[in-house]
Protein backbone atom coordinates (compact mmCIF):
# COMPACT_ATOMS: atom_id res chain seq x y z
CA UNK A 1 0.00 0.00 0.00
CA UNK A 2 1.36 3.41 -0.87
CA UNK A 3 2.25 5.62 2.12
CA UNK A 4 -0.37 8.26 1.27
CA UNK A 5 -3.12 5.65 1.17
CA UNK A 6 -1.91 4.06 4.38
CA UNK A 7 -2.01 7.47 6.04
CA UNK A 8 -5.60 8.07 4.85
CA UNK A 9 -6.66 4.62 6.04
CA UNK A 10 -5.10 5.14 9.49
CA UNK A 11 -6.69 8.58 9.82
CA UNK A 12 -10.07 7.15 8.91
CA UNK A 13 -9.71 4.24 11.34
CA UNK A 14 -8.71 6.68 14.07
CA UNK A 15 -11.80 8.76 13.34
CA UNK A 16 -14.06 5.71 13.47
CA UNK A 17 -12.54 4.50 16.76
CA UNK A 18 -12.90 7.95 18.33
CA UNK A 19 -16.48 8.32 17.13
CA UNK A 20 -17.50 4.87 18.39
CA UNK A 21 -15.91 5.62 21.73
CA UNK A 22 -17.87 8.88 22.00
CA UNK A 23 -21.09 7.18 20.93
CA UNK A 24 -20.52 4.30 23.33
CA UNK A 25 -20.04 6.70 26.24
CA UNK A 26 -23.21 8.62 25.34
CA UNK A 27 -25.25 5.41 25.17
CA UNK A 28 -23.71 4.23 28.44
CA UNK A 29 -24.62 7.50 30.16
CA UNK A 30 -28.17 7.39 28.80
CA UNK A 31 -28.70 3.67 29.33
CA UNK A 32 -31.62 4.05 31.77
CA UNK A 33 -33.36 6.65 29.58
CA UNK A 34 -33.10 4.50 26.48
CA UNK A 35 -35.04 1.68 28.13
CA UNK A 36 -38.63 2.07 27.07
CA UNK A 37 -40.09 0.85 30.34
CA UNK A 38 -39.42 0.02 34.00
CA UNK A 39 -39.91 -3.55 35.19
CA UNK A 40 -42.29 -4.34 38.07
CA UNK A 41 -39.22 -5.28 40.19
CA UNK A 42 -37.84 -1.76 39.76
CA UNK A 43 -41.19 -0.24 40.78
CA UNK A 44 -41.54 -2.46 43.85
CA UNK A 45 -37.92 -1.69 44.80
CA UNK A 46 -38.87 2.02 44.81
CA UNK A 47 -36.42 3.31 42.21
CA UNK A 48 -39.30 4.93 40.32
CA UNK A 49 -40.53 8.47 41.21
CA UNK A 50 -44.19 8.93 42.25
CA UNK A 51 -46.64 10.89 40.08
CA UNK A 52 -44.35 11.20 37.09
CA UNK A 53 -45.13 9.81 33.69
CA UNK A 54 -43.51 6.42 33.32
CA UNK A 55 -43.91 3.15 31.50
CA UNK A 56 -44.06 -0.25 33.10
CA UNK A 57 -43.55 -3.40 31.06
CA UNK A 58 -44.24 -7.03 31.87
CA UNK A 59 -46.65 -9.90 31.43
CA UNK A 60 -50.36 -9.72 32.27
CA UNK A 61 -50.95 -12.14 35.16
CA UNK A 62 -53.56 -14.69 33.99
CA UNK A 63 -56.79 -14.47 35.97
CA UNK A 64 -55.99 -10.97 37.24
CA UNK A 65 -57.93 -8.98 34.61
CA UNK A 66 -61.07 -7.42 36.13
CA UNK A 67 -63.36 -5.34 33.94
CA UNK A 68 -65.96 -2.95 35.34
CA UNK A 69 -69.46 -4.02 34.25
CA UNK A 70 -70.65 -0.51 33.33
CA UNK A 71 -67.55 1.19 31.85
CA UNK A 72 -64.31 0.53 29.98
CA UNK A 73 -62.35 0.56 33.25
CA UNK A 74 -60.08 -2.42 33.76
CA UNK A 75 -57.65 -3.50 36.48
CA UNK A 76 -54.92 -6.09 35.97
CA UNK A 77 -51.61 -7.19 37.42
CA UNK A 78 -48.33 -6.91 35.51
CA UNK A 79 -45.42 -9.14 36.47
CA UNK A 80 -41.83 -9.81 35.47
CA UNK A 81 -42.16 -13.13 37.41
CA UNK A 82 -40.17 -11.62 40.32
CA UNK A 83 -42.50 -8.79 41.32
CA UNK A 84 -46.07 -7.73 40.50
CA UNK A 85 -47.64 -4.30 40.05
CA UNK A 86 -51.38 -3.47 39.70
CA UNK A 87 -52.38 -1.33 36.71
CA UNK A 88 -55.66 0.54 36.23
CA UNK A 89 -56.80 1.71 32.82
CA UNK A 90 -59.92 3.13 31.22
CA UNK A 91 -60.18 2.82 27.47
CA UNK A 92 -59.84 0.44 24.57
CA UNK A 93 -57.15 -2.20 24.97
CA UNK A 94 -55.11 -3.32 21.92
CA UNK A 95 -56.17 -6.54 20.14
CA UNK A 96 -53.14 -8.44 21.41
CA UNK A 97 -53.94 -7.67 25.06
CA UNK A 98 -54.65 -10.98 26.78
CA UNK A 99 -53.57 -12.90 29.89
CA UNK A 100 -49.93 -14.01 29.71
CA UNK A 101 -49.20 -11.43 26.99
CA UNK A 102 -46.43 -8.80 27.27
CA UNK A 103 -47.73 -5.24 27.72
CA UNK A 104 -46.31 -1.77 28.27
CA UNK A 105 -48.52 0.56 30.33
CA UNK A 106 -47.94 4.33 30.12
CA UNK A 107 -49.08 6.25 33.17
CA UNK A 108 -48.28 7.50 36.66
CA UNK A 109 -47.42 5.61 39.82
CA UNK A 110 -49.64 6.61 42.74
CA UNK A 111 -48.85 6.41 46.47
CA UNK A 112 -50.57 3.00 46.78
CA UNK A 113 -48.13 1.53 44.28
CA UNK A 114 -50.72 1.30 41.50
CA UNK A 115 -49.90 2.46 37.98
CA UNK A 116 -52.74 4.62 36.63
CA UNK A 117 -52.31 4.03 32.92
CA UNK A 118 -53.33 6.49 30.20
CA UNK A 119 -52.35 4.08 27.46
CA UNK A 120 -51.70 0.34 27.27
CA UNK A 121 -49.50 -1.07 24.49
CA UNK A 122 -49.19 -4.76 23.69
CA UNK A 123 -45.87 -6.42 22.97
CA UNK A 124 -45.53 -9.55 20.92
CA UNK A 125 -42.52 -11.82 20.69
CA UNK A 126 -40.44 -12.89 17.71
CA UNK A 127 -42.12 -16.30 17.45
CA UNK A 128 -44.85 -16.47 14.85
CA UNK A 129 -47.02 -19.54 14.49
CA UNK A 130 -49.93 -20.76 12.42
CA UNK A 131 -53.11 -21.20 14.54
CA UNK A 132 -53.20 -24.98 14.15
CA UNK A 133 -49.62 -25.36 15.43
CA UNK A 134 -50.50 -23.27 18.49
CA UNK A 135 -53.60 -25.41 19.15
CA UNK A 136 -51.48 -28.56 18.96
CA UNK A 137 -48.98 -27.10 21.43
CA UNK A 138 -51.76 -26.19 23.85
CA UNK A 139 -53.30 -29.64 23.63
CA UNK A 140 -49.96 -31.32 24.22
CA UNK A 141 -49.29 -29.24 27.35
CA UNK A 142 -50.66 -30.37 30.73
CA UNK A 143 -53.24 -27.87 32.06
CA UNK A 144 -51.23 -27.00 35.18
CA UNK A 145 -48.06 -26.12 33.21
CA UNK A 146 -46.27 -22.83 33.81
CA UNK A 147 -48.41 -20.10 32.32
CA UNK A 148 -45.61 -17.78 31.26
Amino acid sequence: MRPVRRRRLLALLGLVVAASLALGLVLYALRQNINLFFTPSQIVAGVVPLNQRLRVGGLVVPGSVERAPDSLAVVFLVTDTAATVPVTFEGILPDLFRPGQGVVAVGRLDAQGTVRAEQVLARHDENYQPPEVQRAIEQARPPDADEY
Partner: protein, 249 residues
Amino acid sequence: MKSRWNWLHQWASPRWFYRRSGACIPWCAVAAAGLLAVALVWGLAFAPPDYQQGDSFRIFYIHLPAAVLAQSVFAGMAVAALVVLVWRVKLADLFIRAAAPFGASMTALALGTGAIWGKPAWGTWWEWDARLTATLVQFFLYLGVIGMHGAFGSTRTGGRAAALVCVLGALNLPIIKFSVNWWHTLHQPATFTLTAPPAMPAEMWLPALVAVLGFYALFAAVVLFQMQSEILYRERHTDWVRRLVDGAA
Protein backbone atom coordinates in the same frame (compact mmCIF):
# COMPACT_ATOMS: atom_id res chain seq x y z
CA MET B 1 -0.50 -11.36 -9.48
CA LYS B 2 -0.04 -8.56 -11.96
CA SER B 3 -2.86 -9.81 -14.18
CA ARG B 4 -5.20 -10.11 -11.21
CA TRP B 5 -4.65 -6.45 -10.39
CA ASN B 6 -5.30 -5.53 -14.01
CA TRP B 7 -8.55 -7.47 -13.85
CA LEU B 8 -9.56 -5.54 -10.73
CA HIS B 9 -8.54 -2.21 -12.24
CA GLN B 10 -10.70 -2.82 -15.28
CA TRP B 11 -13.74 -2.85 -13.02
CA ALA B 12 -12.78 0.52 -11.61
CA SER B 13 -12.94 1.99 -15.11
CA PRO B 14 -16.36 3.56 -15.73
CA ARG B 15 -16.33 2.61 -19.41
CA TRP B 16 -15.63 -1.05 -18.71
CA PHE B 17 -18.20 -1.08 -15.94
CA TYR B 18 -20.80 0.51 -18.22
CA ARG B 19 -20.40 -2.29 -20.79
CA ARG B 20 -20.40 -5.13 -18.29
CA SER B 21 -23.20 -3.90 -16.02
CA GLY B 22 -25.48 -3.29 -18.99
CA ALA B 23 -25.59 -7.04 -19.55
CA CYS B 24 -26.55 -7.71 -15.90
CA ILE B 25 -29.45 -5.25 -15.60
CA PRO B 26 -32.10 -7.28 -17.50
CA TRP B 27 -31.26 -10.41 -15.50
CA CYS B 28 -31.53 -8.56 -12.20
CA ALA B 29 -34.80 -6.91 -13.26
CA VAL B 30 -36.38 -10.22 -14.34
CA ALA B 31 -35.19 -11.93 -11.15
CA ALA B 32 -36.62 -9.07 -9.06
CA ALA B 33 -40.01 -9.17 -10.78
CA GLY B 34 -40.23 -12.98 -10.50
CA LEU B 35 -39.07 -13.28 -6.90
CA LEU B 36 -41.20 -10.37 -5.68
CA ALA B 37 -44.31 -11.71 -7.43
CA VAL B 38 -43.79 -15.17 -5.90
CA ALA B 39 -43.00 -13.78 -2.44
CA LEU B 40 -45.93 -11.36 -2.30
CA VAL B 41 -48.56 -13.82 -3.57
CA TRP B 42 -47.17 -16.57 -1.33
CA GLY B 43 -46.77 -14.40 1.74
CA LEU B 44 -49.93 -12.29 1.41
CA ALA B 45 -52.32 -15.01 0.24
CA PHE B 46 -51.05 -18.52 0.99
CA ALA B 47 -48.79 -18.44 4.07
CA PRO B 48 -50.67 -19.29 7.27
CA PRO B 49 -51.82 -16.39 9.50
CA ASP B 50 -50.25 -15.88 12.93
CA TYR B 51 -52.09 -17.47 15.87
CA GLN B 52 -52.23 -14.16 17.77
CA GLN B 53 -52.15 -11.47 15.11
CA GLY B 54 -54.10 -13.17 12.35
CA ASP B 55 -53.71 -11.62 8.92
CA SER B 56 -52.17 -8.33 10.07
CA PHE B 57 -48.95 -10.30 10.57
CA ARG B 58 -48.60 -10.54 6.76
CA ILE B 59 -47.18 -7.02 6.51
CA PHE B 60 -44.07 -8.78 7.85
CA TYR B 61 -43.39 -9.95 4.27
CA ILE B 62 -42.80 -6.34 3.21
CA HIS B 63 -41.60 -4.91 6.52
CA LEU B 64 -38.78 -7.44 7.06
CA PRO B 65 -37.14 -7.21 3.58
CA ALA B 66 -37.42 -3.41 3.62
CA ALA B 67 -35.72 -3.28 7.03
CA VAL B 68 -33.02 -5.75 5.93
CA LEU B 69 -32.26 -3.67 2.84
CA ALA B 70 -32.36 -0.41 4.80
CA GLN B 71 -29.45 -1.68 6.90
CA SER B 72 -27.44 -3.73 4.42
CA VAL B 73 -27.52 -1.02 1.74
CA PHE B 74 -25.99 1.38 4.24
CA ALA B 75 -23.36 -1.22 5.18
CA GLY B 76 -22.50 -1.56 1.48
CA MET B 77 -22.30 2.23 1.15
CA ALA B 78 -19.93 2.38 4.13
CA VAL B 79 -17.56 -0.13 2.48
CA ALA B 80 -17.71 1.85 -0.77
CA ALA B 81 -17.06 5.01 1.25
CA LEU B 82 -13.87 3.49 2.65
CA VAL B 83 -12.75 2.81 -0.94
CA VAL B 84 -13.60 6.41 -1.90
CA LEU B 85 -11.73 7.94 1.00
CA VAL B 86 -8.60 5.76 0.88
CA TRP B 87 -8.24 4.72 -2.77
CA ARG B 88 -10.24 7.53 -4.45
CA VAL B 89 -12.05 5.12 -6.79
CA LYS B 90 -14.66 7.06 -8.77
CA LEU B 91 -16.90 4.05 -9.25
CA ALA B 92 -17.34 3.62 -5.48
CA ASP B 93 -18.62 7.20 -5.31
CA LEU B 94 -21.07 6.43 -8.12
CA PHE B 95 -22.31 3.44 -6.13
CA ILE B 96 -22.96 5.56 -3.01
CA ARG B 97 -24.81 8.14 -5.09
CA ALA B 98 -27.01 5.48 -6.69
CA ALA B 99 -27.61 3.45 -3.53
CA ALA B 100 -28.49 6.28 -1.11
CA PRO B 101 -31.96 7.15 -2.52
CA PHE B 102 -32.84 3.45 -2.71
CA GLY B 103 -31.73 2.87 0.87
CA ALA B 104 -33.63 5.95 2.04
CA SER B 105 -36.81 4.65 0.36
CA MET B 106 -36.35 1.24 2.00
CA THR B 107 -35.91 2.86 5.41
CA ALA B 108 -39.04 4.94 4.84
CA LEU B 109 -40.89 1.78 3.76
CA ALA B 110 -39.72 -0.09 6.87
CA LEU B 111 -40.82 2.80 9.12
CA GLY B 112 -44.14 3.15 7.29
CA THR B 113 -45.06 -0.54 7.28
CA GLY B 114 -43.86 -0.74 10.89
CA ALA B 115 -46.26 2.05 11.88
CA ILE B 116 -49.16 0.39 10.03
CA TRP B 117 -48.32 -2.91 11.74
CA GLY B 118 -47.78 -1.25 15.12
CA LYS B 119 -51.28 0.24 15.27
CA PRO B 120 -53.16 -3.10 15.38
CA ALA B 121 -50.44 -5.17 17.09
CA TRP B 122 -49.11 -2.80 19.75
CA GLY B 123 -51.86 -0.20 19.89
CA THR B 124 -49.73 2.71 18.67
CA TRP B 125 -48.38 4.07 15.37
CA TRP B 126 -45.14 5.22 16.91
CA GLU B 127 -43.27 4.90 20.17
CA TRP B 128 -39.84 6.38 21.03
CA ASP B 129 -38.46 2.90 21.41
CA ALA B 130 -34.71 2.32 20.85
CA ARG B 131 -35.20 0.23 17.68
CA LEU B 132 -37.68 2.65 16.13
CA THR B 133 -35.70 5.76 17.04
CA ALA B 134 -32.41 4.32 15.74
CA THR B 135 -34.12 3.44 12.45
CA LEU B 136 -35.45 7.00 12.16
CA VAL B 137 -31.88 8.24 12.75
CA GLN B 138 -30.77 5.91 9.93
CA PHE B 139 -33.32 7.55 7.62
CA PHE B 140 -31.89 10.98 8.41
CA LEU B 141 -28.36 9.65 7.82
CA TYR B 142 -29.44 8.57 4.33
CA LEU B 143 -30.84 12.06 3.73
CA GLY B 144 -27.52 13.44 5.01
CA VAL B 145 -25.58 11.38 2.47
CA ILE B 146 -27.87 12.54 -0.34
CA GLY B 147 -27.61 16.12 0.85
CA MET B 148 -23.80 16.06 1.16
CA HIS B 149 -23.45 15.06 -2.48
CA GLY B 150 -25.08 18.27 -3.59
CA ALA B 151 -23.80 20.53 -0.83
CA PHE B 152 -20.47 21.46 -2.40
CA GLY B 153 -19.48 23.19 -5.60
CA SER B 154 -17.39 20.28 -6.81
CA THR B 155 -18.59 16.71 -7.32
CA ARG B 156 -15.37 15.41 -5.80
CA THR B 157 -15.64 17.31 -2.52
CA GLY B 158 -19.31 16.41 -2.25
CA GLY B 159 -18.49 12.73 -2.81
CA ARG B 160 -15.86 12.72 -0.09
CA ALA B 161 -18.10 14.50 2.40
CA ALA B 162 -20.88 12.01 1.65
CA ALA B 163 -18.42 9.12 2.08
CA LEU B 164 -17.46 10.45 5.51
CA VAL B 165 -21.14 10.52 6.53
CA CYS B 166 -21.42 6.89 5.33
CA VAL B 167 -18.45 5.69 7.38
CA LEU B 168 -19.51 7.48 10.57
CA GLY B 169 -23.21 6.75 9.98
CA ALA B 170 -22.44 3.04 9.83
CA LEU B 171 -21.85 3.21 13.60
CA ASN B 172 -25.65 3.40 13.92
CA LEU B 173 -26.06 -0.04 12.31
CA PRO B 174 -24.99 -2.12 15.34
CA ILE B 175 -27.21 0.13 17.49
CA ILE B 176 -30.25 -0.73 15.35
CA LYS B 177 -29.30 -4.40 15.25
CA PHE B 178 -28.69 -4.87 18.98
CA SER B 179 -31.13 -2.27 20.36
CA VAL B 180 -33.69 -5.01 21.05
CA ASN B 181 -31.12 -6.99 23.08
CA TRP B 182 -29.40 -4.12 24.90
CA TRP B 183 -32.49 -2.26 26.14
CA HIS B 184 -36.12 -2.87 27.01
CA THR B 185 -37.97 -2.05 23.80
CA LEU B 186 -41.50 -2.34 22.43
CA HIS B 187 -40.12 -4.01 19.31
CA GLN B 188 -39.60 -7.75 19.64
CA PRO B 189 -36.11 -9.35 19.23
CA ALA B 190 -34.94 -10.74 15.88
CA THR B 191 -36.87 -13.63 14.32
CA PHE B 192 -33.96 -14.57 12.09
CA THR B 193 -30.46 -15.07 13.50
CA LEU B 194 -27.38 -16.76 12.12
CA THR B 195 -26.98 -19.01 15.15
CA ALA B 196 -30.45 -20.50 15.53
CA PRO B 197 -33.18 -21.74 13.19
CA PRO B 198 -35.93 -19.15 12.49
CA ALA B 199 -38.53 -18.85 15.24
CA MET B 200 -41.33 -19.73 12.84
CA PRO B 201 -42.21 -22.74 10.67
CA ALA B 202 -40.83 -23.05 7.12
CA GLU B 203 -44.13 -22.24 5.39
CA MET B 204 -43.97 -18.85 7.13
CA TRP B 205 -40.30 -17.95 6.72
CA LEU B 206 -39.72 -19.22 3.17
CA PRO B 207 -41.83 -16.45 1.55
CA ALA B 208 -39.92 -13.93 3.65
CA LEU B 209 -36.61 -15.31 2.37
CA VAL B 210 -37.83 -15.11 -1.25
CA ALA B 211 -38.97 -11.53 -0.60
CA VAL B 212 -35.53 -10.57 0.75
CA LEU B 213 -33.84 -12.05 -2.34
CA GLY B 214 -36.33 -10.21 -4.56
CA PHE B 215 -35.60 -6.90 -2.82
CA TYR B 216 -31.86 -7.48 -3.31
CA ALA B 217 -32.38 -8.20 -7.03
CA LEU B 218 -34.44 -5.02 -7.32
CA PHE B 219 -31.69 -3.10 -5.56
CA ALA B 220 -29.08 -4.48 -7.99
CA ALA B 221 -31.17 -3.57 -11.05
CA VAL B 222 -31.98 -0.05 -9.83
CA VAL B 223 -28.45 0.73 -8.65
CA LEU B 224 -26.73 -0.54 -11.81
CA PHE B 225 -29.16 1.45 -13.95
CA GLN B 226 -28.60 4.61 -11.92
CA MET B 227 -24.82 4.13 -12.04
CA GLN B 228 -24.99 3.76 -15.83
CA SER B 229 -26.89 7.02 -16.18
CA GLU B 230 -24.44 8.81 -13.93
CA ILE B 231 -21.46 7.41 -15.87
CA LEU B 232 -22.93 8.65 -19.16
CA TYR B 233 -23.54 12.06 -17.64
CA ARG B 234 -20.09 12.43 -16.11
CA GLU B 235 -18.26 11.15 -19.18
CA ARG B 236 -20.47 13.01 -21.64
CA HIS B 237 -17.50 14.87 -23.15
CA THR B 238 -15.43 11.75 -23.80
CA ASP B 239 -15.13 10.07 -27.17
CA TRP B 240 -16.62 6.75 -26.17
CA VAL B 241 -19.84 8.27 -24.88
CA ARG B 242 -20.14 10.46 -28.00
CA ARG B 243 -19.67 7.43 -30.19
CA LEU B 244 -22.19 5.48 -28.13
CA VAL B 245 -24.80 8.23 -28.40
CA ASP B 246 -24.17 8.78 -32.13
CA GLY B 247 -24.37 5.05 -32.74
CA ALA B 248 -27.65 4.77 -30.87
CA ALA B 249 -29.22 7.82 -32.54
